[in-house]
């Protein structure tokens, strides 16, 4: 399969939840090449989930535009699919039905659905569980079903909102690896929101740091590392330290700072970020 990704172009994105409420984030600009994997990191409440929901078309921006291959995003679409922090599977459906549910909303024949569901289950290594009840799966397996449910749509852009934070370290690590290799193989764009600096370094081609209130992208860093990436690899460790330093510097950005590269004040005294991974 060739490159199925899209060029992402986000311009002047501003959001507030209510007309008199606070600005969630202000004038965010962002671009990505087809097939590129972005990680957005930032502390809790800076607007990462909101940004992802807007890119997915599940929320409307107050101002600004999102274009995917020059097509304006005006609502949800099977071409850009989001995966949430919790699996949110449908408990009255078997695993295979859950995976195929999105295809069922479109014009797919029963046979096509069956084939694509089988392939998606293979991708996430759950082929033996097609007829299982979702309640009988472990948390990690459920999250893999949710991943298959997104991948089966063959999206051009996959948006992940802290998808692995509720999982144990082993499952998380193997899913991080799997999602990166699957998206790279299919050539689709990835935007992953995370609290976890390691996750950003292991999964992204480029890491963006979001900070401030209202939030903005204050720093970005290319993660130019070969695959497969191992946590213990010195190059990975070095980039991780680099990103951590940038993250801590971003923490010192004062409210209402504009997003022009994080060249603000000194490194924060606040060491709480060191424990975030």
């Amino acid at each position: 399969m060739g490159i199925r990704g899209v060029q992402i172009k986000i311009e002047g994105l501003t959001h507030r939840y209510s007309s008199r409420g606070p600005v969630t984030f202000n004038r965010v600009d962002l671009e990505a090449k087809p097939g590129e994997a972005l990680a957005i990191i930032g502390r809790s409440g800076c607007g990462k989930s909101t940004l992802l929901h807007i890119i997915a078309g599940l929320l409307r921006p107050t101002e600004g535009t999102i274009r995917l291959d020059r097509v304006l995003v005006e609502g949800p679409s099977p071409r850009w699919v989001m995966m949430f922090q919790a699996p949110h599977l449908f408990p009255w459906m078997k695993v295979a039905q859950n995976v195929g549910v999105g295809l069922g909303f479109g014009r797919w024949s029963k046979n096509e659905i069956r084939e694509r569901v089988a392939e998606a289950l293979r991708l996430v290594e759950l082929q033996g569980f097609a007829e299982s009840n979702v309640q009988d799966l472990s948390g990690g397996q459920q999250q893999r079903v949710a991943l298959a449910r997104s991948l089966v749509m063959e999206p051009e852009l996959l948006l992940l909102d802290e998808p692995f934070s509720a999982l144990d370290a082993f499952t998380r690590s193997s899913l991080q690896h799997d999602v990166r290799s699957i998206t790279k193989r299919l050539g689709i764009n990835l935007v992953i929101v995370t609290h976890d600096i390691d996750e950003a370094v292991l999964m992204a081609d480029r890491a963006l740091i979001m900070a401030g209130s209202p939030g903005s992208i204050v720093h970005e860093l290319d993660v130019d590392l070969p695959d497969p990436r191992e946590r213990e690899d010195p190059a990975v460790q070095a980039l991780r330290a680099h990103l951590m330093a940038a993250f801590q510097e971003a923490a010192s950005v004062k409210p209402h700072a504009s997003g022009d590269g994080g060249q603000h004040e000194s490194v924060s005294e606040d060491k709480s970020f060191a424990n975030m991974n």
């Binding site: 997915a56 599940l58 949800p76 679409s77 099977p78 699919v81 989001m82 949430f84 919790a86 949110h88 449908f90 408990p91 009255w92 459906m93 549910v101 999105g102 069922g104 909303f105 479109g106 009840n133 309640q135 009988d136 449910r149 997104s150 749509m153």
Partner: protein, 257 residues
């Protein structure tokens, strides 16, 4: 003996057996007392004795059929009205706030107190009875549906929209399967209420059905027949409830957790 299924069966059967025994003892005491002797045919033995003749004559079947038709029609009307309004109540906060007081008010009115009004409004006794059953059973169906919807995880809608669901898909693929359990539970409650309302409603004008048969037997002082119909009412209600429980088991995804 240690088999829990067998044990449960045995408990059920012995519960029924005790009920019948109490009935039998009551009938025996009544028959022995000279003051109450004329009511002896209320007892278990006379009742059981008349059942074959009533069945042969087709009287039990036709009474059950007539009552069943009214019950089914009334219940169907209650479902057709109750489920959509229940969905609306559960889904729209504005509609909930707007409708809550009138619905609670109407719900508290005993179904049978609508009888005079029903008789005035409808041209036939049959229609009046169906109306009484419908108005008795619409509330459990409606409130159960609304309660089911309140438990629907809003994230399911987000997930579905995210995967390209259109509004009709939200209804047919998400809402309806998610609330089947609650709708069926509501129907089960409604069935109980409707079955209770049916018999006194059939004491009115109609000339068919179980309520009529009881009233008719009372007037003819055929107490064994009366009790036979009472027995049938209990048995049919028991079977209908059992069918509901089976459907609830079959269609509920909640029993898995």
């Amino acid at each position: 003996m240690g088999n829990p299924v067998v044990q449960r069966r045995m408990l059920k059967v012995s519960g029924l057996a005790i009920l019948l025994a109490l009935w039998w003892i009551g009938g025996y005491l009544i028959a022995r007392n000279p003051a109450t002797k004329s009511f002896a045919s209320f007892g278990l033995v006379p009742t059981i004795k008349v059942i074959p003749a009533l069945w042969e004559a087709g009287k039990i079947q036709s009474a059950v059929l007539a009552s069943g038709r009214r019950l089914g029609t009334g219940l169907l009307i209650a479902i057709v009205i109750g489920v959509p309004i229940g969905i609306l109540v559960g889904r729209s906060k504005r509609f909930r706030n707007f409708s809550n007081s009138p619905f609670q008010f109407l719900r508290m009115i005993s179904p049978l107190s609508w009888t005079p009004l029903a008789v005035l409004v409808f041209t036939s006794w049959d229609q009046s009875i169906v109306f009484l059953i419908a108005i008795a059973s619409v509330w459990p169906v409606m409130f159960s549906t609304a309660a089911g919807l309140a438990k629907v995880d809003p994230a399911w809608f987000k997930v579905a929209r995210n995967l390209g669901a259109k509004p009709r898909h939200l209804l047919t693929r998400i809402i309806l399967p998610a609330i089947t359990f609650d709708v069926l539970t509501g129907i089960r409650l409604a069935l109980g209420v409707a079955w209770i309302v049916l018999v006194p409603a059939e004491f009115l004008g109609v000339t068919s059905g179980l309520g009529y048969a009881i009233e008719n037997a009372r007037e003819g002082m055929e107490y064994a027949h009366l009790m036979a119909y009472v027995l049938v009412i209990g048995a049919v209600g028991y079977v209908l409830d059992g069918v509901c429980v089976m459907l609830i088991r079959r269609f509920s995804w909640r029993h898995g957790n």
